[in-house]
Assembly symmetry: none
Homo-oligomer: 367 residues x 2
């Protein structure tokens, strides 16, 4: 059953995911209304063009973008307030949440649990982007008693956001999956980064990109993530138990002085190679590739202005910009991401203006 995008959606919770969904829906022509317990958060989301602050009369869908433990109450309230609406959520734990909603109200047949597999380590409306869900899986977990009309309109919402609906995944199987591919990486990144709290600065000075990558998600919100981890404890604990056993074996190999130690360590790294190779890659899961044009600048106030002035005169639209300050060096590296077709124009223009432009590099976006 395929239906058009909903005409009107109420997004409750204007953090990263809620605001991104609102922006994506606006882009698809949907009327979007916004609500959040934090007036400053919802005001920023509205100013970013995510939707209206006025309460809706009759939304087709209420999308709850609130932490997992807040979903059951919010769902019961939305099902009660809008008897014609389907209600969905974005919580990354589905089994326990679905059971709690079902226990609360018979209107739960209009509730369709959902989880977009998309995010960033930085929360808040400020980090929101309309293409956050582009090509990403968005799991929906209807129950046997779910209203088919509700499922259809929520599926249409997911499609309107640019995501790939993964319908009919068993909620508990979903929770096993995210325990492995999302919650375990979060725990390891947090524990690794926490080891740095008391490290002397001269040791930290040797940090490189490997540490930055492995700990990027350690910047995630403690309130939200403790909620997620605790809610998914049943699925997460066996994975962490197995990891603890693996870690014990590596420690034993390091502690042993016999010749088998290195073979055992090599086997552990090789198993990591094999697991890494199984992570689904570029099969349509990432947004369009960009070409990154690196430009080296002196680290002084006028430089960025001069650069962006030159970019503007070149008539090239910059899709993303990242500035890296190399440790110990008074130079900044600015990486300008542009559509592949625009890279040559930009390189020529900037080089002509005397900028130190390095060879462009193809890179998938989404990171």
């Amino acid at each position: 059953m395929s239906v058009p995008a909903p005409a009107c959606v109420l997004v409750v919770g204007t953090g990263l995911v809620g605001t991104s969904a609102a922006l994506a829906l606006r882009r698809a022509g949907v009327r979007v209304h916004l609500a959040d317990v934090d007036p400053a958060a919802v005001a920023l989301a509205a100013d970013l063009g995510a939707g209206s602050l006025a309460p809706p009369d009759d939304p087709d869908v209420v999308l709850l973008a609130v932490p997992p433990s807040a979903v059951p109450d919010a769902a019961a309230a939305a099902l009660d307030a809008y008897p014609g609406a389907a209600v969905s959520d974005v919580a990354s734990v589905k089994g326990a949440v679905a059971r709690a909603v079902a226990a609360r109200t018979p209107a739960a047949r209009r509730f369709v649990g959902g989880h977009p597999l998309a995010g960033r380590e930085r929360g808040g409306a400020a980090s929101a982007r309309a293409d956050l869900f582009e090509g990403r899986p968005w799991v929906l977990c209807p129950e046997p008693g779910t209203d088919p009309t509700a499922l259809a309109v929520v599926t249409a919402l997911v499609t309107a956001c640019g995501a790939q609906p993964v319908v009919s995944m068993d909620p508990d199987r979903h929770d096993l999956a995210v325990a492995l591919v999302s919650h375990t990486p979060q725990v390891l990144a947090s524990l690794l980064a926490a080891r740095l709290v008391d490290a002397p600065p001269d040791l930290l000075a040797l940090s490189g990109q490997g540490l930055r990558d492995t700990t990027r998600i350690a910047a995630s919100d403690p309130g939200l993530w403790s909620d997620i981890l605790a809610t998914n404890a049943d699925a997460l604990l066996p994975v962490l138990d197995a990891l603890a056993g693996d870690l014990d074996r590596v420690r034993a190999a390091l502690a042993s002085s016999d010749g088998s130690a290195q073979a055992s360590l090599a086997a552990a790294v090789a198993a990591g190679n094999a697991g890494h190779a199984r992570i689904p890659g570029k099969h349509g899961s990432l947004p369009a590739p960009y070409t990154v044009v690196p430009v080296v600048l002196d680290d002084s106030p006028g430089q960025l202005g001069r650069l962006f002035d030159a970019v503007g005169r070149a008539g090239v639209n910059v899709e993303d910009v990242r500035m890296e300050h190399a440790p110990g060096r008074p130079m900044g590296l600015v990486e300008l991401a542009v559509r592949p077709g625009s890279a040559d124009t930009l390189v020529a223009a900037l080089s002509g203006d005397g900028f130190r432009v390095h060879p462009p590099e193809q890179r998938p976006s989404g990171g």
Copy 2:
């Protein structure tokens, strides 16, 4: 003591690091000769323009880009073969290597242990790039008896590669540092990725960017890394022991059914936030807190130029810039990170110029 770049360098080992150093030295006008036990590897490096296959007559420096356990023999051979040359290495473990070289030959005074903090998860000459070391720290560990001329010419080589020499770090302290910031992340990334080996495809289908980032370095070479980990076991083991304890506490919190579990999990994630914020960002120092000034722009080419022109006129130094700009979002959000004392000036100037400035936000840098 500052000397010009060496005129002639022999690079032994044409993997990623050796070939990248050779390319960087060639770019700096240095005559480079290449050697490797693997004829195919050295032929590829030569074909890539990294240097000559002919043996050098009288190199100023022999740079050993071989695994840690191979350095002592290679160093003794090079010190013997080229009595006028300084010899250095790039192994990521320094204490044990330096002791092994010193025990082998009195010529060890011409040996200067080194370690460039740069790399990629893909090895081999094919992945080499001349700018691999650009702005990166390159640690040198001279001993009290090290020949000052040897130290000077190796330092000049490091500078010629574009790296920042970090001279006079104690070898054992270096090994503590890399155990924490490099070898521990490698072990965790490998173990995490290894958990995916037997995972069903429908679970892996939910993988996202967080998993990709945390496991990127799991693609590293098992032979090289088992060598590194085993050689640095003394420094690495205590870090892994502490991590195992931290992991036990998270597992205990997840297994407990009382209300304290979530507080304990939140504390673990918050400790990760704190550690992550300590990873050095700009200029190798610990990141000072910044104030982030969010500005909403129309999504058109001239806007960034106009903004940075206004920033330049305000005389404010922008420490970092991040742009959230995706096709489809009606507005772009530019976040300007400045010193807290400059935020008010910037907000006033930009607001006066008609920009839509949102409330500034304190944020630690480094991410």
